[in-house]
C-alpha cells in the first residue's frame, strides 16, 4: 500500500507528444480517474504507471520509491484490463492464483487467498470453470479478483466497464467502488465516460491532447471549471465567446449583453468565454422577452429548450413543468425571458 506520484511525466513518439508533463498525486486509499476523449493520453499515462510503456521524461513513485526504470513485473501494481485479459487456458482459480504463484506463496495459503478473493467478487462457486464459460460480467469480476488477490500497492483500471452492457455497468461500478473503499486501495482508473468518473472517483483528472486540463472533485470540475475544454467535457455547457464590458457585463460576439458576477470579472479581466450550465438558466414565457424558442425537446423527467437571444443560441434544461404550468405550453417561436444568477456564469480564458 502507498501513494502514487507522477512527476512531470512525458511520453513522446518521434515529434508527436502523447503525454505532456503530467504531475499528479494519488493519495493512499484514494481513487483518481483519468478522464478525457480518446487519444488524450490517459491510457498512455496508465500504461506508463504499469510499466508497459517507458516514459520519455519524468518520474513515477509508488509508496515513495522511484519505479520509473523498473520492469512491469517488479512494480507491484494490480491492473484490470479493458479486455479483462484472462488466461484462456487456465481455470478461474488458476487465473486468480497466478500472481500468488509468481510471488512464491505456498500452496495452502494460496488456495485460501484465492477463495477469499473469489468470495469478495461472489464467484467462489465458479473456481473450476474456464473463462470462456463465464459471462462478460463474471469475467470482469475474475479480472478484479486476480488483480486484488496480490494486495497491489496501486490498483489500475483501464476502461473496466466499456465491454459491459448498460445495466451491468451500473452494478459493477458500484461494486468496484465499494471494494476500493473497503480495501483502502490507491486507485487510478482510466475512462472516457464522464458519468463513470463522476460516480466512482474521489478526484478527476481531465486530460486533452496529452495535457492535464484540470484536477478536482466532481463538484469542483462541474461548478468551477477553469478551462473551456473542461467546461464543455464535464456535463453540458453553453460556451459563449465574447469579452467583458462594463462591470458585470459580458458582450457576446453576436452582440448580446449577458450579465455575470462583478468580482469574478475583476479576477479575470482577460475572459474570452462565458460558461453557463443549461440547468442554471431560468425560463419564463414573456411576450416582451428578448428570447425566442427555437426548439423544445421533451425527455420525460426533463425538457430541453433551445432559445435564440440576440443571435446567441442557449441550451436550457428544466425539470419538465407540470401540466398546469404555463411553461408546459411553450412552443417554438414563443417569446421568453431568460434569467440566471450572476455567480452561475463562469468566466474562462480563451481556449488553447
Amino acid at each position: 500500500m502507498g501513494n502514487l506520484v507522477l512527476e512531470a511525466l512525458c511520453k513522446r513518439y518521434g515529434s508527436s507528444t502523447a503525454v505532456e508533463r503530467v504531475d499528479l498525486e494519488v493519495k493512499q486509499g484514494e481513487m483518481v480517474a483519468l478522464l478525457g476523449p480518446s487519444g488524450c493520453g490517459k491510457t498512455t499515462t496508465l500504461r506508463m504507471v504499469a510499466g508497459f510503456i517507458p516514459p520519455s521524461e519524468g518520474r513515477i513513485l509508488i509508496g515513495g520509491q522511484d519505479v520509473t526504470r523498473r520492469p512491469a513485473h517488479a512494480r507491484d501494481t494490480g491492473m484490470v484490463f479493458q479486455s479483462y485479459a484472462l488466461f484462456p487456458h487456465m481455470t478461474v482459480g488458476q487465473n486468480v492464483a497466478f500472481g500468488l504463484e509468481m510471488r512464491k506463496v505456498g500452496r495452502a495459503e494460496r488456495d485460501g487467498r484465492v477463495m477469499e478473493a473469489l468470495r469478495l467478487v461472489r464467484l467462489d462457486h465458479l473456481a473450476d470453470r474456464l473463462p470462456r464459460q463465464l459471462s462478460g460480467g463474471q469475467q470482469q469480476r475474475v479480472a478484479l479478483a486476480r488483480a486484488l488477490v496480490v494486495n497491489p500497492a496501486v490498483f489500475l483500471l483501464d476502461e473496466p466497464l466499456s465491454n459491459l452492457d448498460a445495466k451491468l455497468r451500473g452494478e459493477v461500478r458500484m461494486e468496484i467502488r465499494a471494494l476500493q473503499q473497503r480495501l483502502g486501495l490507491t486507485t487510478l482508473i482510466v475512462t472516457h465516460d464522464q458519468e463513470e468518473a463522476l460516480t466512482m472517483a474521489d478526484r478527476l483528472v481531465v486530460m486533452e491532447r496529452g495535457r492535464v486540463r484540470q484536477v478536482g472533485t466532481a463538484e469542483e470540475l462541474y461548478e468551477n471549471p477553469t478551462d473551456p475544454f473542461v467546461a464543455g467535457f464535464v456535463g453540458r455547457c453553453n460556451l459563449i465567446e465574447g469579452r467583458l464590458e462594463a462591470p458585470g457585463g459580458f458582450r457576446a460576439a453576436s452582440g448580446a449583453l449577458l450579465h455575470c458576477d462583478v468580482e469574478a470579472a475583476e479576477a479575470r479581466p482577460d475572459a474570452a468565454l462565458l460558461a453557463l450550465r443549461p440547468e442554471r438558466i431560468g425560463l419564463q414565457p414573456d411576450a416582451e422577452g428578448g428570447g425566442r424558442v427555437a426548439a423544445v425537446t421533451y425527455l420525460g423527467a426533463q425538457t430541453e429548450y433551445l432559445v435564440e437571444q440576440d443571435g446567441t443560441s442557449l441550451l436550457i434544461i428544466r425539470p419538465t413543468p407540470t401540466l398546469a404550468d404555463p411553461l408546459r405550453r411553450l412552443a417554438v417561436g414563443d417569446a421568453v425571458t431568460l434569467s440566471w444568477e450572476a455567480a452561475a456564469a463562469r468566466l474562462l480564458p480563451a481556449a488553447t
Binding site: 510499466g51 508497459f52 513485473h73 494490480g78 484490463f81 479486455s83 488466461f87 497466478f98
Partner: protein
C-alpha cells in the same frame, strides 16, 4: 444470415455440388480398391480384398510407408520448432528486416515441387563433392528437403495464431509479477498451442504425401510411399494402388479427426 427460399436452395445446391466434386475422387478410389477385375470397368464383376493383400505382399509399399512415416516425423520435429521460433520472432518484432525474412520462409511454397526438387538434387551433388559424404538418396537429405515444406506451413499457421492472440494477457501476466520468460512459458506458449498443433498436422501431411520434391532425392531401397506408388504405376495398372491410396486416405483422415479433438481445425485453418 437469412435469405429468401429460392436463393437458399441455390446456395445449398452449390455447396452440395462443391462437396461432391471434392469428395468424388476420394470415394472413387476407395470403391475401386475392392473391384475384382484388374482393368476397372462398371459394373464390377465382383468384390475382393485381394488388392490389399497384394499391396501388403509387395515390399516396396510397406517399406515406402515406413520411410514416408520416418521422413514426415523427422521433418515435422525439425520444422515445427524452427518455424514456431521464426514466427514468434517475426510477430514480436525484435528482428531487423522481418518482412524479408517472412517472405523468405514462405517462399518454398511458391516454387513448384519438381523445380525445387531438381534444384536441390543439383545442389546436393555439388555439396557431396565438397564435403565428401552422401546426401542424395539418404534419409537426412530427404528430411532436409522436406523441412522446406514443414517450415513454411508452420510459419504460416503459427503466425496466424499469434496475430489473433490477445497481447494484454501477456501484459496481465507481467503485471502479476511474471518475468518475460515465465510469461512466454506460462501464457504465450499455451495460447499458441492450437496453431502449433495445426502446424504439426499440416507439416506431417504435406511431407507424408509429397511426391514432386522427393522424386529425385530418393534412392534405391529408400523410396517414399508416393514415389513407390508412381514407380508401380509405370509398369502396371491395377487396383493395388487404389488399395494403398485408401490406406493413406484413412490415415490422413484419422489424423485430422484426432487433431480436431484437441483443436478445432475450422478455427485455425
Amino acid at each position: 444470415m437469412s435469405m429468401p427460399a429460392p436463393s437458399r436452395l441455390l446456395f445449398h445446391a452449390v455447396v452440395a455440388a462443391a462437396f461432391a466434386l471434392m469428395l468424388a475422387p476420394v470415394v472413387m478410389v476407395m470403391v475401386i480398391s475392392v473391384f475384382r477385375q484388374e482393368i476397372v470397368s462398371f459394373p464390377p464383376p465382383g468384390l475382393t480384398l485381394d488388392w490389399y493383400v497384394n499391396a501388403w505382399d509387395r515390399q516396396e509399399f510397406a517399406r515406402g510407408f515406413v520411410s514416408s512415416l520416418q521422413v514426415a516425423l523427422m521433418a515435422t520435429l525439425i520444422g515445427v520448432p524452427t518455424g514456431t521460433a521464426a514466427a514468434y520472432a517475426i510477430a514480436r518484432g525484435w528482428l531487423p528486416g522481418k518482412g524479408a525474412v517472412n517472405t523468405l520462409l514462405l517462399s518454398p511454397l511458391a516454387v513448384p515441387g519438381v523445380v525445387a526438387g531438381t534444384a536441390l538434387y543439383m545442389f546436393y551433388l555439388r555439396a557431396e563433392f565438397w564435403i565428401d559424404a552422401d546426401i542424395t538418396a539418404t534419409l537426412h537429405g530427404l528430411v532436409a528437403a522436406h523441412v522446406l515444406l514443414t517450415i513454411p506451413w508452420t510459419v504460416r499457421l503459427v503466425s496466424a495464431s499469434l496475430a489473433q492472440l490477445d497481447r494484454s494477457a501477456e501484459e496481465a501476466a507481467a503485471n502479476l509479477g511474471a518475468r518475460p520468460f515465465t510469461v512466454f512459458r506460462r501464457v504465450t506458449l499455451p495460447m499458441m498451442r492450437p496453431g502449433i498443433v495445426a502446424a504439426c498436422l499440416f507439416s506431417f501431411i504435406q511431407s507424408f504425401e509429397n511426391l514432386e520434391l522427393s522424386l529425385l532425392l530418393v534412392g534405391p531401397g529408400r523410396t517414399t510411399l508416393p514415389v513407390a506408388m508412381l514407380s508401380y504405376l509405370e509398369f502396371r495398372i491395377d487396383p493395388t494402388l487404389a488399395a494403398v491410396a485408401t490406406v493413406q486416405i484413412l490415415l490422413v483422415g484419422g489424423l485430422m479427426l484426432l487433431t480436431d479433438r484437441f483443436v478445432k481445425l475450422s478455427r485455425v485453418v
